[in-house]
């Protein structure tokens, strides 16, 4: 186990290195830099001085090596557009908003998803099952900003039950969370259903029923435990997606989270911000996949690690 984790962490490190290199090179290939765009271009001398200050006059490879050296010391630099902050403090300031929405979304989506999947599975091939399948496909297929617009049109504009924008009280959480949760909820519901149906057909369920166990016991003690294992592989990798913020949800509802920086920093050619955000998401993802694989092995003794 220890060896396996070490190998996986090494490979994750390799991936992150590759990701950072590709991003770094691509980023600097983009025409324009942080200090020569915009409505009020800086005077030539100022621009050169600024570029020297941020080390942008150095050859690319040296910039990259310097950057890596700083990252190892957990120094992600200063955002070009927000010189009064560090990248770390900017992320620390804006991420919690995204995390709050994300956490509520995760709880809602996963609980409802598992429940819906469960009802669809025990009512297989009935109207309940079909309508749940339809809702699930709707949730997976329709983009969340489309659903967000519909929710706003109905519940904020027409009925005026919830605020249009912002994030002030619990009421303002309702619409963004619904719009955001529908997709992951549908995904979880679909997998729960498939997994439960598969398990319900298996021999051990027949055995359990044959020895006279009640349906309740069969479901909770046998089926559910087995069916939820493969679900781990779906649920966990979704978490980074949700927690790193849906750009769309934050834009539609005017929520001041981390999401908007994904677009903004690319536009502003804010090199340190772009690098930090890409690495943050990639590392989060990689770690979640590792945790998923380890958890999967711990939950299901039939699976062995290693290749």
């Amino acid at each position: 186990m220890g060896r396996y984790i070490a190998v996986r962490l090494a490979s994750l490190l390799f991936v992150l290195l590759a990701v950072s290199l590709i991003t770094f090179v691509l980023m600097h290939q983009v025409p324009g830099g942080p200090f020569d765009k915009g409505d009020r271009p800086l005077p030539e001398a100022t621009r050169i001085a600024m570029e020297r200050k941020y080390g942008l006059d150095q050859p690319l490879w040296r910039q990259y090596v310097t950057y890596l050296g700083n990252v190892v010391r957990l120094d992600f630099g200063v955002p070009n557009k927000y010189p009064n902050e560090t990248v770390t403090s900017l992320i620390a300031r804006t991420w919690p908003t995204t995390l709050k929405i994300g956490a509520v979304t995760i709880v809602v989506a996963y609980t409802l998803g598992i429940l819906l999947g469960y009802f669809a599975a025990i009512r297989q091939r009935t109207a309940v099952d079909y309508s749940l399948t339809f809702i699930a496909t709707l949730g997976i297929a329709v983009p969340n900003f489309v659903i967000a617009i519909w929710l706003i049109l109905i519940f904020a504009v027409r009925l005026e039950w919830f605020p249009l924008r912002g994030l002030d009280n619990w009421k303002s959480y309702v619409l963004p969370v619904i719009a955001y949760a529908l997709g992951p909820m549908a995904l979880v519901a679909r997998y729960t259903r498939t997994s439960l149906v598969e398990n319900l057909r298996s021999d051990y369920v027949r055995t359990a029923r044959a020895k006279g166990l009640g349906e309740q016991t069969v479901m909770t003690r046998h089926v559910f435990r087995n069916a939820l294992i493969p679900l781990v592989t779906v649920i966990l990798p979704e978490i980074p997606n949700i927690l790193t913020g849906s750009i769309f949800i934050e834009m539609t509802f005017g929520i001041p989270g981390l999401g908007r920086f994904f677009v903004q920093s690319t536009f502003n050619r804010d090199y340190p911000m772009i690098m930090a955000l890409v690495l943050l998401v990639a590392a989060f993802w990689g770690l979640m996949y590792l945790v998923t694989d380890i958890l999967y092995v711990m939950l299901d003794p039939r699976i062995r690690l290693g290749r």
Binding site: A18, V19, A141, L277
Partner: protein, 309 residues
């Protein structure tokens, strides 16, 4: 994993009967009946048929947009700006008086164009790389899978945003970017199919009677890997449509005056409190396109791969 094993066990008897039929010279009959079974399953599948009908209807609307649309998409008449849906303007007009119905039609046309061409690009990258990984031996597999791994680690949409800002916005670049980021699933599936299929008994049988590996790949592996690929390709179209709409929604996709549904949503959103139709019609078109293709793809999956449902 599940799907590929079940599919493989299905095709084994089919291959055997192929061999028998080849001896009696009646190969055609068997081949057709298999397709017929799938077709019948598809026709009975209500949601799949609904998906097919919606998709075809949208395709017709998109293709014929220049002839159906009552106005050119960039014709603006400030006198009638911001008018609600009426007989003259079915979907109303936008803030500078352009007919919204015409713009939704042309936006649909853009979406479909982006969807199809970018998926074609994704296939052109994904299938050969998948073949290389599945058949190219250890080194081919290692190289391709490392590329896939690194690409996967890039947050998908973020990478697309990034690439668009490198290449610049516009229809062509958006298509290119979606193609460049969308090939991973296709590549992984092609590889997985080949890896499972090449362990099948009939492949060993073919090898043992001296069929060359090239022949095995073309005659045995590819045809059997085709059905799941068709499904994934169908399901890639809505993803591409979504990505275009998303990029345009963020303001970095298609440029004015070319209509894009995503752009229309984000342009209309600030006025939605009064002019509800500005948000409603483009989102409706996006949702219909996504749902149509998704139900179609799901139906194809059920029809071609009945054991998975």
């Amino acid at each position: 994993m599940m799907s590929s094993t079940s599919r493989a066990s299905q095709s084994a008897p089919e291959q055997r009967s192929d061999a028998i039929l080849a001896l009696t010279g009646e190969k055609q009959v068997r081949a057709r009946s298999n397709l017929e079974l799938s077709a019948r399953r598809f026709l009975r599948h209500k949601l799949a048929m609904a998906g097919l009908i919606v998709t075809l209807a949208l395709l017709v609307l998109g293709l014929l947009a220049p002839w159906i649309a009552p106005f050119p998409y960039d014709y603006s008449n400030l006198m009638t700006a911001n008018s609600f849906p009426s007989r003259d303007h079915l979907f109303g007009t936008d803030a500078i008086g352009r007919d919204y119905f015409s713009r939704v039609l042309f936006g649909l046309r853009t979406s479909l164009l982006v969807g199809f061409i970018s998926v074609a690009i994704a296939c052109a990258i994904g299938v050969p790389l998948g073949l290389l990984a599945g058949l190219g031996g250890r080194w081919g597999d290692f190289t391709v899978m490392r590329i896939v791994e690194v690409m996967t680690a890039f947050p998908g949409l973020l990478f697309a945003i990034f690439l668009v800002s490198v290449l610049g916005s516009g229809v062509q670049n958006v298509i290119l970017v979606i193609g460049l980021t969308g090939w991973l699933t296709i590549c992984r599936l092609t590889r997985a199919q080949l890896l499972t299929l090449r362990e099948q008994d009939y492949v060993m049988a073919a090898r043992s009677i001296g069929v060359s590996s090239w022949q095995i790949a073309v005659r045995h592996l590819l045809p059997n890997a085709l059905a799941p690929l068709v499904i994934v390709i169908t399901l890639s179209v809505p993803v591409a449509i979504f990505t275009e709409a998303g990029l345009s929604f963020l303001g970095i996709g298609i440029n004015e005056p070319t209509p894009s549904l995503g752009k229309m949503v984000s342009d209309g959103a600030p006025y939605m409190q009064v002019y509800w139709y500005l948000g409603f019609f483009p989102t409706l078109a996006i949702a219909l396109a996504m749902l149509g293709f998704t139900f179609l793809g799901d139906g194809l999956r059920d029809a071609l791969d009945p054991r998975q449902g």
